[in-house]
Symmetry: C2
DNA sequence: ATTAGCACTCTATCCAGGAGAGTGCTAATC
DNA sequence: GATTAGCACTCTCCTGGATAGAGTGCTAAT
């Protein structure tokens, strides 16, 4: 049985209302609010149909109706109208990113904050995954006797450092020489091109320095991995406490602890982005992890030159303002694409 | 009127019990639990006295008694017995710090985590304040045409970096020369020694490079400031939700938002540490900020070579296990002192 | 097909009553 | 004079019943 025009209208009305009020919606409410020219009784019949078809649920006998996950899915896919951001919202978002930005991390942090502020839900951002990034420059600086600092710079402008121990007899120019050698061999290579065989070739060229080479290369690889963007940024965790879904303190606590499990968040984000869709909405029980099965997640990927380099998402209760969140997520994605494209091209 | 032995015993018994149970304590409870050889009626009289003197309070007429802030103060200063950490706790704490530690930030993060885990309250750590730290090494690396990376290393082993724009005609050796010049003048100087007059002297020596010098020095100063440890680390914020004091979701939310105000936390921590005491306990209304006036804060400072370089603290409800927290804070402070002394001496 | 009418269901709220914990006071006791 | 038993009293918390309110489902009329 397909949903006719009237059923769709009623379903949409109920979900719109429920998203706003968080209370079960009754037939009279709908009849009063939308002047449809039909009586509550008719609406009741339609609602009974919609329930039988699985789009609505009743918290208890003869209470009002509440959308089911299937209902939300239909709403998101077919009913919801595309809400445009207001001028004010657009300027608010743009304003945040107007400040001059030098560090990639700043962009991410701003995005995280503005995502949660604008939606009043919790935002998740997966930092740029730069396994497509490559080594731009490597430098070993002498610091103390027997101690040196390795600096790794990627073509994407990320910098990582680490102290290492070196044989005490090494001078600064020794280290510079090693840096130059490594640079000449490895510069421009992406991380997955730096293989053991390459390393052993390198070692042959720098005789008697095996230990240092090993150490430096390990650190380089580690650094590149570290910069690989596996870091999850989290914003507005406390926002969730304003929603009635989390009025139970125990549930709220469980959820906040859940948000500290970065590995799980990482999985959730990346799994969602496997889809071909540009923007993915995962509703309630569609989620794998039990604790978020009464939540919905809206994610999208940000890109540079057509390549996905990271993910942003918003997590909130299933009763989420999908339209609003989709608009915000989409707009912020666009801004991030722009900023990163500029940053990376600048860097070439 | 001074507190005689028996009043002290009763006050201590009530506070001990209340810290454990979070319920108002009645005379019968005390009589039954501690076989004092006196009847509940006698204890009742003593409790009435203690209330009149301001050490106890009654939530409502003829309910049991609850400690007042004054009561807690007396308890902390005179009554509380010094709880020793168990073997298990000691090995648990030490275990966390056993992993090899290379970065100062790791130490701080570990300390934050273990502080909150061991106490089940919220931990605050103010990172090493290194305005006593000095410039160890400065290096400008060419990255792209017209673009360079400034690396600043302090004697305390912290590293900061920043990209700058340089005149396009500068070569790598130009930059190295500038680095060397700056190094020779500024190396070893603490940040407050880097004055405008010193800078203008520097500029005279490197003619025609005013702009770059300015830029680099600004970044150096900024970096040193940034490394200055004003960063607040926060641990176990959700721990507070387990305590009945925060069972009201609204209060919990307010509190969690409060914990995001790093500037205020910074003030709270530093103000507490102005005291001459090694370990400072600030109880309830002794706190300046209204939102924490039903909380207590226990802070201490960690040092290197007798110099205070940072602060650690635990924030929890006034009904806090003072004895336990003091032991934990104290022990972790000792470990941090040791680790930092080693780290910094290593660095000389 | 729609709707008015009505009986019915379930929740939430209010209120009264009783149990329970605890106090304060008084008078008796040590 | 300190201590205590006894007792009336206070206040909270829990329970259960009564009621109002929102909303449904069904039936019969339109």
């Amino acid at each position: 049985m397909k949903l006719d025009e009237r059923k769709r209208f009623i379903l949409k009305a109920i979900i719109d209302d429920y998203i706003f009020s968080a209370e079960p919606i009754g037939s009279r409410t709908i009849a009063r609010k939308y002047n449809m020219g039909i009586s509550p009784a008719t609406i009741r019949n339609e609602m009974a149909d919609l329930e039988e078809m699985g789009y609505l649920e009743q918290p208890y006998t003869s209470s009002g109706r509440v959308p089911s996950d299937k209902g939300y899915r239909f709403y998101v896919d077919f009913l919801m109208k595309n809400e445009k951001l207001t001028e004010k919202e657009i300027s608010e978002i743009s304003g945040v990113f107007k400040k001059k930005i030098t560090e990639i991390e700043d962009v991410i942090e701003q995005a995280t904050k503005v995502l949660s502020d604008m939606t009043n839900y919790t935002s998740l951002v997966l930092g740029p995954q730069l396994n497509k990034s490559s080594l731009k420059h490597l430098q070993i600086l002498p610091i103390d006797e027997g101690k040196a600092l390795v600096i790794v710079v990627t073509n994407t402008g990320l910098v990582e450092h680490c102290f290492i121990k070196v044989p005490i007899e090494f001078t600064g120019s020794d280290l510079t020489r090693i840096s130059n050698l490594i640079n000449s061999k490895v510069q421009g290579l992406s991380i997955n091109k730096i293989t053991p065989s390459l390393l052993s070739k390198l070692k042959k060229e720098i005789i008697n320095m095996d230990d240092v080479i090993d150490l430096v290369m390990n650190i380089t690889i580690q650094s590149l991995n570290k910069l690989d963007g596996n870091k999850i940024y989290l914003g507005g965790a406390t926002n969730l406490l304003s929603h009635p879904e989390f009025k139970d303190i125990d549930k709220a606590k469980k959820f906040l602890l859940f948000l500290e499990e970065k590995q799980i968040l990482y999985n959730i984000l990346t799994e969602a982005s496997f889809s071909n869709e540009d923007l993915v909405v995962t509703i309630g029980s569609e989620n794998k992890y039990e604790l978020v099965q009464d939540c919905s997640l809206i994610t999208t990927t940000y890109k540079v030159a057509g390549k996905t380099i990271g993910i942003i998402g918003v997590l909130g209760p299933t009763r989420m303002d999908y339209s609003k969140v989709i608009s915000v997520v989409d707009y912020i994605k666009l801004i991030m694409n722009k900023i990163f494209s500029e940053l990376f091209n600048d860097d070439k």
